[in-house]
């Protein structure tokens, strides 16, 4: 059902009679005119999104040095880029971190600095060949010195994105920002009503060769993004564009405290309104798009879903979780997404941007989104823990505990209540300190009460990280009634890793 062709629309751009609106304006128009009327009236709907898109980067061609070098490793402002391409091509990824500055500065910042016209220090090393004898190179370049600088992003512009909160008892630092303990806040991403891919959810006009707004330049969709998952409305796209044409405003390095770096990428997609179906799809509102709220407190692939929300609720600033009103924060900028949709609209009206239809549409069906195939089971706490754990009754003395530890020749002694529940832990070091200070009677006075524990079903990597975070060397393993069923030490884990 095509009422209009892309040629019709482009002819209207050329003669200045094209009718463009942004995706924010479209719901009202469709409500008033109906999809058929709207399709007649409106030629193009522009969309926009500006948020953290980790799967981003750029191909850079540095030009040949004299004598020439075949770069084996290369660093741009101390951030390593991938050099396993031809001699002087490199791919700088947004999330690669600086060797010297860590999380504060990464590939995303290098890209932002390039776009901003700043000088970038290059350091490269090589093994040397007859045709490329040079082994070390150090120089400084700006984007103008490069032959090509092409942004190439494997996965951008998620159709919609999950919402994050944290039900655990400690603050988490994630790619969704700081998540306060005890569901203290909620963060979300995506542009809702302006979402490029949600305005054409069957990708009738989006695919290989679709001309788009990419960071202030004209770029292209080059295919489905990695992890493209249309069945669940988590479609993504692969995009490319000329870094040299981009606007720093729409390509920004970001650093998430305790997590790493990411790129804020600005994407706008024009949706040519070829028929009533497409018009109807662009009438999508924030209230129509639902997403799951996930508990990031559980560090597993399948995180518990707490509830579903709409973008309308998220954007209201508060959502209800288990009867409590929790403040929400977007991670992507709706303000700038709007600016992008507006700027793209301007370009089209001024006749400097002509939309294209894709050579090949993004797949809408038949795409599988699989978890990783893992060979060999990930060991759990139960596989590694010591099952025969000696505990001590609450209320006994330091003297008693010292004896138990000495006889058993171990370092950690869980303290349990009369009902056999874990109430504290004592280490050999605690006892040594107590003795030195002459505090020999009540164990209760010297034990650690806030005991960090593990669950028998947890994968070892999660527990190893917990030991590291709390800077401790053992965790009692408890069941849901706080009864101690084992103990796991960093030694057990080290031995296991050595065997792997």
């Amino acid at each position: 059902m095509t009422d209009k062709t892309i040629q019709d629309i482009n002819a209207k751009i050329a003669n200045g009679s094209v009718h463009v609106v942004t995706a924010e304006e479209m719901p009202d128009i469709v409500a008033e005119l109906g999809p058929v009327g709207a399709a007649k009236e409106i030629d193009i709907v522009t969309t926009g999104t500006f948020g953290a898109m980790c799967s981003s980067g750029a191909f850079l061609n540095l030009g040949h040095s004299d004598p020439p070098i075949k770069m084996q490793k290369v660093w741009l402002n101390d951030v390593e880029a991938y050099a396993g391409l031809a001699a002087i091509d490199a791919y700088i990824g947004a999330t690669q971190l600086s060797k010297s500055r860590g999380i504060e500065y990464g590939g995303a910042h290098v890209i932002e600095d390039l776009v901003a016209g700043k000088s970038i220090d290059i350091h490269a090393t090589a093994y040397g060949t007859d045709c490329y004898p040079r082994k070390v190179l150090d120089t400084t370049v700006t984007i103008d010195d490069l032959n090509q600088a092409t942004m190439f992003n494997p996965r951008n512009g998620y159709q919609r994105y999950n919402v994050a909160t944290n039900c655990s008892d400690r603050t988490l630092y994630t790619y969704m920002g700081t998540l306060l303990p005890d569901c203290g806040n909620v963060t979300y991403s995506g542009a809702g009503v302006l979402s490029p891919m949600y305005n054409d959810p069957t990708y009738q006009t989006i695919g290989v060769g679709s001309r788009i707004f990419l960071c202030g330049a004209q770029g292209y969709v080059t295919g489905q993004g990695t992890q493209h998952d249309p069945a669940n409305n988590f479609a993504t796209m692969m995009v490319q564009g000329d870094l040299k044409q981009m606007d720093k405003k729409y390509v920004r390095g970001a650093s998430f405290h305790g997590y790493g770096t990411s790129q804020y990428v600005g994407i706008g997609i024009p949706i040519p309104i070829l028929n009533a179906d497409i018009a109807k799809a662009t009438a999508v509102t924030d209230a129509d798009i639902t997403v799951d709220v996930l508990d990031y407190g559980v560090a597993r692939r399948d995180r518990p879903v707490l509830r579903q929300v709409t973008y309308e609720e998220l954007k209201s600033g508060m959502i209800d979780i288990n009867g409590r009103e929790i403040t929400t924060s977007p991670m992507s900028s709706f303000h700038d997404a709007r600016a992008i949709a507006g700027e793209l609209k301007d370009w089209i009206q001024k006749g400097t941007f002509y939309p294209t239809l894709p050579v090949e549409r993004l797949p809408n069906t038949g795409v599988e989104f699989k978890p990783m195939k893992q060979i060999g089971e990930q060991p759990t706490v139960a596989d590694v823990m010591a099952k025969r754990v000696i505990t001590i009754q609450q209320g006994l003395t330091v003297e008693n505990a010292a004896k138990v530890i000495m006889e058993g020749n171990f370092n950690h002694l869980p303290v349990v209540s009369d009902e056999d529940r874990l109430v504290g832990i004592i280490t050999a070091w605690d006892i040594a300190k107590a003795v030195a200070k002459n505090k020999r009677d009540k164990l209760d006075d010297i034990m650690t009460r806030a005991v960090v524990t593990a669950d028998a079903t947890e994968p070892i990597d999660i527990v190893a990280r917990r030991l590291e975070q709390h800077n401790i060397s053992a965790l009692p393993v408890v069941d849901k009634h706080s009864r101690v069923s084992g103990i796991i030490t960093s030694d057990d884990i080290t031995k296991l890793v050595a065997r792997r």
Binding site: S255, S262, S329
Partner: protein, 129 residues
């Protein structure tokens, strides 16, 4: 208005704030307290009309008081108006305007710095008084 009380170790053991409340009868609200071995820093919300008397009462006891004027500075060139900083602020300083740009009601700020760590673009700085 908010003031910062800087107390040196020699006066920290004293119930300074309680004494000042008793003396002035002013309803003080403690927004944030940071007491270290080398002294302390307490951010106190003072009813504007009592401010002079409260400051005088503290100073009489040897404490230094500074006014908290611009507690957090936002660099507008760095800020992308994402709003990530909104949900971590304990006192709802930050909010969206009608046009989805970010605004800060700095009178409410207690200088906890949570928004500074949250900001992915390094746009925020807490002014240490």
């Amino acid at each position: 208005m908010k003031i910062t009380l800087h107390a040196t170790p020699d006066i920290t053991p004293r119930p300074l704030i309680a004494e000042v409340i008793l003396e002035t009868g002013a309803l003080l609200n403690i927004d944030r307290a940071d007491v270290k071995p080398k002294g302390g820093e307490v951010v106190i919300d003072v009813p504007p009309n009592e401010c002079k008397r409260v400051v005088a009462a503290f100073e009489k006891r040897g404490a230094t008081i500074t006014a908290l004027e611009q507690p957090v500075i936002k660099d507008d060139d760095e800020c992308v108006n994402c709003g990530a900083c909104i949900s971590v602020c304990p006192t709802s300083v930050i909010s969206f305007r009608e046009d989805w740009s970010v605004q800060m009601d700095l009178d409410k700020c207690v200088q906890c710095g949570a928004c500074v760590t949250m900001c992915p673009h390094g746009a925020l700085t807490v002014m240490k008084s």
